[in-house]
Symmetry: C2
Subunit: 315 residues, 2 copies
């Protein structure tokens, strides 16, 4: 019998899950609407029905050996989701236990960025690396830090919040209530704000559509050669590079991986980030740290990352 693992990612809107084999192939993928389930037990019940049905067609050749869960504010040590602002579920939800009780398989849970980092280590560009940093540039900036071959969870499982490092004490207002956090600059939300500011200060013709542009729109404008769009990427990369240089002083990683929408802008984001990182690195680290795009597919990363929690334990 071949081994197979369920990877499930709990998002504010959608919950996606898939069956993942030992090579990181997703054999099957499904989707349910998180929002339809105001009570977590109900989502667990429905998800387990789907998982059982999905697994049925593989049950003659495969053995279901575990389940990994990626979730916002996930606590790895306790298998809980704790006070997640983007979910309707309040307080502390023992999600791993709820799934474990129904499926009777080993179940591990962590936050989405950590899960994706482990996915990168098991099936992506960080294979064989013992020290790396994984950065997701989405609505916010998430991160997972691996050192000595192990995810750094910290004493409370909430380590790796590089998006909330304060870069400028009187900087932009952050959703966390403080000011100047890295993610207010370096994220899809951050670059939109930068772009909007630049359009105005560059006195370029703008319409309302420009002001609500997303990161992909800014990338397209940059491709067209629009000054404000290119400047927005340079400004974002400049700050991200400084933050990464500072991060290197903590864990001296072999590589830093960038994942998410912004990271798909290629040289527009990688070039200024790399330049700023090298300029701001302490001498002993210069020209040693690889800055790489994640090798995980955008659409598969969440499931693959979640499943990797179990594959890492097995392998």
């Amino acid at each position: 019998m071949k081994k197979i693992v369920v990877g499930i990612d709990i998002g504010g809107t959608n919950t996606v899950f898939g069956l993942v084999d030992e090579n990181g192939q997703i054999l099957l993928k499904e989707n349910i609407h998180t929002e339809h389930f105001p009570i977590p037990e109900d989502l667990v019940a429905v998800a387990c029905e789907h998982i059982k049905r999905a697994f049925a067609s593989f049950s003659k050749t495969h053995e279901l050996v575990g389940m990994g869960i990626g979730a916002p504010n996930g606590n790895f040590f306790n298998g809980t989701i704790e006070f997640a602002p983007n979910l309707k579920w309040e307080g502390i939800i023992p999600l791993a236990k709820l799934f474990e009780e129904r499926l009777n398989i080993k179940t591990l849970l962590t936050n989405d960025a950590n899960a994706a980092a482990i996915g990168e280590m098991m099936f992506g560009g960080a294979k064989g690396m013992k020290d790396f940093i994984f950065i997701t540039l989405g609505t916010g900036l998430g991160s997972g830090i691996v050192a000595n071959g192990e995810m750094i969870y910290g004493h409370d499982s909430f380590a790796g919040e590089i998006g909330h490092v304060i870069m400028f004490p009187d900087g932009r207002q952050c959703g966390c209530g403080r000011k100047g956090c890295l993610e207010t600059y370096c994220s899809a939300t951050g670059i939109k704000r930068t772009y909007s500011d630049l359009l105005m200060s560059n006195h370029e013709k703008v319409n309302l559509k420009d002001k609500v542009a997303d990161a992909k729109y800014i990338y397209e404008k940059a491709l067209e050669g629009e000054k404000s769009a290119i400047e927005a990427f340079n400004y974002t990369g400049d700050i991200l590079g400084l933050a990464l240089a500072n991060s290197v002083a903590y864990t001296s990683p072999e590589a830093i991986f960038l994942f998410g929408g912004l990271a798909q802008a290629g040289d527009f984001i990688f070039k200024p980030t790399k330049e700023s990182m090298e300029r701001n690195l302490l001498n002993i680290y210069k020209n040693k740290i690889k800055l790489l795009p994640s090798q995980l597919k955008e659409n598969d990363a969440a499931i693959l990352g979640a499943a990797s929690l179990i594959w890492k334990e097995i392998k």
Copy 2:
């Protein structure tokens, strides 16, 4: 036979070593002048003679099981000192190998701050902790980061340079060639500069002696109630607290230990540091992270830390 370990600390001026038992007791301590030995092999030869002589009186009851070395720019993976600016030895020195060849015992080497951090874990306040940060506030700011019960060395053994995190991109000139590094503010050197600036801006009567004051002098002035001295500690603590809050976002430690001259100023430095740290911490970390004085004695820490490299392997 009881086990015993040599701990040796290579400093720019002095090399100190001691015999350390499994309880962290230093049974014997000696000192030789590093500067008298322009060639490292000569220092190793003399140190080994001293060590053998020192051990002789314990050889009936004890077995010498290893040697730990704390050294500036120490590379744990290779057992080398690499381009240490404060030593006369140039290039890469395979110091662990040189000692091992003469003493025929397991020899490990790391930088002084990492060694002290492991000392804190084995014999000090971090006993039983798996996640903590150790900060030395000396001429510069050194640090050792422990996560998952292991020292973070990074891919090249040079992780843990929190003193060279850039706090203010156009800040004070640092000895490393960059600007705004944490240690230009939060170290004995940093607070002297702050104090000197404050004396001038506060228009207090100063003489030349004041301007070359050391951290101890500033502490004494603070005890006397001198405004500039108290402000200097507050300013230092304010920046240190922000840096520690940012550090927590990386590894979410159970505790942060402060060691070194500045840390001995008690509440003058701990109070503003703690206040600033709590103010700048992301919500999920607030009121969870202990800020503690190191439990290592100032004079023993270097030897104890070095010896701990071996004790950690044995225990």
